[in-house]
Amino acid sequence: MRRSGAPENIREHGMDRLFLNQLPPVPDLLSALWPAASSLLAESASTAGPVSPALVLTIASAISAIGLALLLRPGPRGVRLAGTVGGLAGFSILVVEVLKRAGEGDGGVPPVFPVVFGAIALFGAVRMITHARPVFAALYFILVVIATAAMFLLLGAEFMAFALIIVYAGAILITYMFVLMLAQQSPSGEQGAAWYDRVPREAGSAVIIGFVMLASLSEAYFSQGSQRFRDDIAARAEEEGALAAWRRLDAMPKLMLETAQAAANQAWRSAPEAERSAEKPAIASLVRDARGSSLRSERSGLEDGISVEVQFADGSMGLVLLPDSMRPDNSRQIGVDLVSRYPAGLEIAGVVLLMALFGAVILARKQIELGEDERRELAGMRRLTVDGEPGGAGGAR
């Protein structure tokens, strides 16, 4: 099959390439498999009678909850395997149901990345809450953080994805590691883990509460109207996303003015020599409409697109088309939004961090100062090093 129709000389040199060419590309393979799998599922659902989507979600949540309950208790290998299979089955039913609502499965290519990262996150989370050794639990949490950051990237939140990795995986988890080392217990019992790490506390009721949580959340998200979010997203097309991005920037007049000037300069440079004015247009100010916006999104006589209304230095008014390449990117939008819409929140976040810093220092300090004498005093015993000032009120500390 590999050499079909290939001339002799190509077979010599281009073997690898030829072979790769004859393999169907991965998305083709998936799109071939996906309808078969989904039709199989739909068939099994139809033979079982009409099942309401909410019921399917609840049943899937129940299956995965049972799987998790089997995994939580320390048990023989077979039980753990059954738990894994149950959890995976519940998870895959949930995924198929949820993707059906996104309009996937009717011939389209399934979204590979979210499913893969979702599976990684699920694996990490389950291992984290079932692993007997705290250090490994913390490491599995890093796996969850990385998978979540990848999902952030897929959702177009680049800044938050990297901030998450830096802050969580880099800072918070390292702190956890240090505390685990500080509070290291001596290994006792089998597997080198303390008994309270191996035996869960009331696993059954915990799993039931988790199941109620998962079932109600998934029903709230996905059962009302089969394609709720798809319609929402379709209604807010790319155009509106662009407009929203520009609106963020419009909240910062100076930045907007600079951007408008840059756009005007770029348009001036790219215009033919004969048509353009002798010198670059100088923008004096933005022209605001009644709602305080200087953006004009309707057809402005230039071309379709978002433009900004400005007053030039010579007093004339005009529209400058804002090119897509100058649209503020994700981190710029976040920064502008943070200072223009949520300045109070930003300040309070700073205060919260400062207070946490003070709190941590005070917690640590108190512990260091609780020496032998204070302990003896609390227990009603005589101090060891008193001379003259027994239990000095505050001053001794």
Binding site: A102, G108, L155, L164, I172, A194, A245
Partner: protein, 125 residues
């Protein structure tokens, strides 16, 4: 001055969405599902584990799930505020981690164990 010429990008951005042909709706739905699942996992872990450090780790997992839901809904509404609120979530998570871990070290020194049952006299019954 009205003769500005539009600049159009000739090549569309090559994102994973373009490569795999899947839609934003699928990404949003998967993110919401994962946020529900991660929150449930964190809740189960918080209720069933005895180790105080793991219990706080589970609250971090729930923070994570909330952040994922925020970003997914921000995507649905094409609003950057969802991502801005994740910054606040990160702030609170960092502050909470600093304080909670300080407290845990303090509690560990008192009882020489990380078992939360060691403090069960705080229970009513």
């Amino acid at each position: 001055m009205n003769s500005m010429i539009a600049m159009h990008d000739a090549i569309p951005a090559l994102s994973p969405t373009v490569l795999l042909g899947s839609t934003d709706a699928a990404h949003v739905n998967m993110a919401l599902l994962m946020s529900a699942i991660l929150f449930a996992c964190g809740l189960v872990g918080f209720l069933s584990r005895r180790n105080m450090i793991i219990m706080f780790l589970c609250t971090e997992l729930m923070f994570q799930a909330a952040a994922l839901a925020m970003i997914a809904f921000g995507k649905v509404h094409q609003d950057i505020s969802g991502q801005v609120f994740v910054i606040f979530i990160l702030t609170v998570a960092a502050a909470e981690a600093a304080l909670a871990l300080g407290l845990i070290v303090l509690l560990y020194r008192r009882r020489e164990t990380l078992d939360s049952e060691a403090w069960s006299e705080l229970k009513e019954a």
